[in-house]
């Protein structure tokens, strides 16, 4: 059963993202633990796919590091199973890995069996190891029926992304399918840390203000101040990926010890979490003005 509702209590949720296995499994484990110590309320654990079409350069490079480190869906599930943290976990990956899990081979290989197993085996295994939900950036609501069905069967949540370009008609389609939280894409483009937060955020949040799922904003948040402004704009949570992956990348490039990188991640997590809380405490007053 999904524990995602527990991430969104009275305080705004801080949801960091890391690619599992970047740059290797043992380091990844320490990094995730550091983020939880730093105040994470939920973690998006990336399962790298070879064609990450929604990702900017930072996460693309993380995907390459992780894949060359040998991460596979089974290694990923084992990682999650071994993880000893007490926050909900969301699996972020691309649809083909979900669609193909459990196949003996990727090709017809002469046997003529080219059919895909579909999403059920993947979701079943994810539920076993303690995953609470999914974000699948290349799966719009229109194509999600099979995955939604499997998620319902195993009691997991399916998070959808709402973009600045999403039309009102499509908002309704997404509203029918979404559970756990809705991922509000703060601006157009791909993932990546930005120097400032987009104005589109408040507008996007206003459009879905009456939805009964929590609203978490991602894409471009890289500082405590960003976090504060996003929460002020009405977000129930903030999602931060590239700004954290940058720290991992810096560790790899400069050959820093794992513990040192973990410290930097913990510190960054605290900054982001405090930013989110700072604004939350202030917001009643803001409302009053």
């Amino acid at each position: 059963m999904s524990r995602l509702p527990s991430a969104f209590g009275s305080e705004p949720a801080f949801i960091p993202y890391l690619a599992v296995g970047d740059p290797d499994i043992p380091s990844s484990k320490q990094y995730v633990e550091a983020l939880v110590e730093g105040g994470a309320d939920c973690i998006e654990l990336g399962l790298p796919f070879s064609e990450p079409i929604a990702e900017g350069p930072t996460i693309q490079k993380a995907v390459v590091r992780s894949l060359s480190g040998g991460i596979t869906p089974d290694a990923y599930f084992e990682f999650v199973d071994d993880l000893d943290v007490d926050v909900p976990l969301v699996c972020m990956t691309y649809y083909n890995l979900i669609f193909r899990y459990g196949a003996e081979s990727g090709t017809a290989a002469g046997e003529g069996d080219y059919a895909a197993p579909g999403p059920r085996p993947f979701v079943k295994r994810a539920a076993e190891v303690g995953i609470d939900g999914f974000v699948v950036p290349d799966l719009p609501a229109e194509e999600a029926d099979d995955l939604r069905e499997a998620c319902d069967e195993f009691g997991l949540d399916l998070v959808f992304i709402v973009a600045p370009t999403t039309t009102d008609d499509r908002l309704e389609t997404i509203r029918e399918q979404v559970s756990g939280y809705v991922y509000v894409q703060a601006r157009l483009g791909v993932t990546g840390a930005q120097a400032d937060v987009s104005d589109q955020t408040a507008e996007s949040l206003a459009r879905i203000a009456d939805w009964d799922v929590p609203k978490a904003v991602g894409f471009g948040i890289s500082s405590g101040d960003h976090a504060a402004r996003v929460v002020e704009a009405g977000a129930d949570g903030i999602i931060v990926g590239s700004a954290l992956v940058d720290i991992v990348a810096d560790g790899v490039e400069n050959d820093r010890p794992t513990a040192e990188v973990a410290d930097a991640l913990r510190e960054k997590a605290r900054e982001l979490k405090e930013g989110a809380l700072r604004s939350a405490k202030r917001s009643p007053e803001t409302d009053g003005r």
Partner: protein
């Protein structure tokens, strides 16, 4: 106008729209524009497109009787001369259609991916012709091996963005172009280069390319009074393939959602065998451990998967990670294939066959010497398949009454007496590759170039 109720863009279970949410509205806008302008000729779009294809593109292209190949195989062999389209390949049919459509849609900027550079050059030409700013994404590896096309694009005024991710070839270029589109979706149209990607691209690109089979149909009736027995085309992503096949596939089989341009089935459609020739590379095996396929034969060996916006057949490892494909022909070197082709192969309407690098190189030299036409390495695969089934070596071997010979007889039967080979492009762009690759192998019919080697 067709409603959205059945507008799922699927071919059986293939196709669909597996793209980031931010792109969905652009795709809906494109579907609407496609239906209005392309299918319903609003504002005279189709008339203008056809007029420009004729005057700028040089259409119609001949259906040429190939005398020496006909004598060699003792069949009537015809070449559909897409190599004579402006730019040297069928690619302009689609690029011109999409750039013109972007103009009708009020878009202000064109982006496109390119592998071998053929689609990039066609898009750059069309964009210059129609006065649209144009940016092309091309993998770094491809930039190195396709210099002449890089220069052509720049000379036509397009900006070129090198893609360094992965192996730096077509699939990385597609991913990067999608990212650009996701960032600039408001004013930008993405000219997808083949019958791949999210709906409506596979259907729309096929519509623009179907001028090939429309002409073949008409020319065949004029020249020999009936339809050909078979149409043979190479298949990478599959745009020349679908273009050459479209008018021989009835519309019901084309799209399970019944949303095609609505041509009603003709009774003689099914009489024409359709053969999609894939690049067998150096071997049909896939090394799942290494993540490498030494071929690009997605229809023959791929498993169902989701790649670049569509469910189709893809070359992937046991986990679903996309593997690196290979072919001596850069234009066929892709790990996926158009969803409609995957569907038509499953429905047994199209036969998926393949030939390897060596056979394609031999066919390249054969056509150059015997018919005076230097074919693209892509098209050489279609030529090589006919040689494989009907060539003298095969005839000499039929003494043996084994199972292979029976299969070969069936294949020969399928090709029939009148064979149309789609000569999708000319081979000038491939000369350096051909000379280099021929040198590495024992290609019996290749000319000796050794005395000139130093000068190349």
């Amino acid at each position: 106008m067709s409603s959205d109720s059945s507008a799922d863009g699927k071919f059986g279970e293939y196709g669909g729209q597996y793209v980031p949410e931010a792109l969905m509205p652009a795709i809906e806008e494109l579907r609407d524009a496609y239906e209005r302008y392309v299918l319903e000729n609003e504002d005279g779009f189709v008339d203008e497109f056809r007029q420009r294809l004729g005057q700028f593109g040089g259409r119609p292209t001949p259906l040429q009787h190939a005398e020496h190949l006909s004598a060699r195989y003792d069949r009537e062999v015809y070449l559909k001369r897409e190599d004579l389209v402006h730019g040297g390949a069928h690619k302009l049919n689609n690029a011109l259609g999409q750039v013109l459509l972007a103009k009708y849609m009020g878009k202000e900027r064109i982006v496109a991916e390119t592998g071998a550079g053929q689609h990039g050059t066609a898009t750059a030409m069309a964009a210059a012709h129609l006065d649209m700013p144009c940016e092309i994404y091309m993998g770094e590896t491809d930039i190195q091996r396709q210099r002449p096309n890089v220069f052509r694009m720049r000379i036509n005024g397009a900006d070129l963005n090198p893609v360094t991710a992965g192996r730096g070839t077509l699939k990385e270029a597609i991913s990067e172009t999608m990212r650009d589109w996701a960032t600039n979706v408001d004013d930008t149209h993405y000219v997808v280069g083949s019958v791949v990607g999210p709906a409506p691209f596979p259907e729309m690109v096929r519509e623009f390319q179907s001028v090939i089979s429309e002409e073949v149909r008409k020319q065949a009736k004029e020249q020999f009074g009936t339809l050909p027995d078979s149409v043979v085309a190479c298949a990478g992503g599959g745009s020349n393939t679908m273009g050459a096949f479209a008018e021989f596939v009835d519309s019901e089989a084309r799209s399970a959602s019944g949303r095609s341009s609505g041509r009603s089935p003709r009774e003689d459609d099914e009489d024409v065998s359709l053969l999609a020739v894939e690049a067998g590379g150096s071997s049909l095996a896939v090394d799942e451990e290494e993540g490498v396929a030494p071929n690009s034969a997605s229809l023959s060996t791929g498993g169902q998967g989701v790649l670049h916006g569509a469910r189709t057949k893809v070359l992937q490892d046991e986990w679903g990670q996309i593997v690196e494909s290979h072919s001596v022909s850069a234009g066929l070197d892709y790990a996926g294939v158009g969803p409609e082709l995957a569907y038509l192969v499953d429905e047994d309407r199209v036969s998926a066959v393949n030939v390897g690098d060596d056979a394609a190189l031999e066919a390249f030299h054969r056509l150059s010497q015997e018919e005076g036409i230097i074919p693209a390495l892509e098209s050489s695969h279609a030529l090589a398949y006919v040689e494989k089934v009907l060539g003298p070596e095969r005839s000499a071997a039929t003494g043996a009454a084994d199972a292979d010979a029976e299969v070969d007889d069936e294949a020969a039967e399928l090709l029939g007496d009148r064979i149309v080979i789609n000569l999708s492009g000319r081979g000038d762009k491939d000369l350096e590759t051909v000379i280099e690759e021929t040198d590495k192998r024992d290609i019996p019919n290749a000319p000796d170039m050794s005395e000139f080697a130093g000068g190349l």
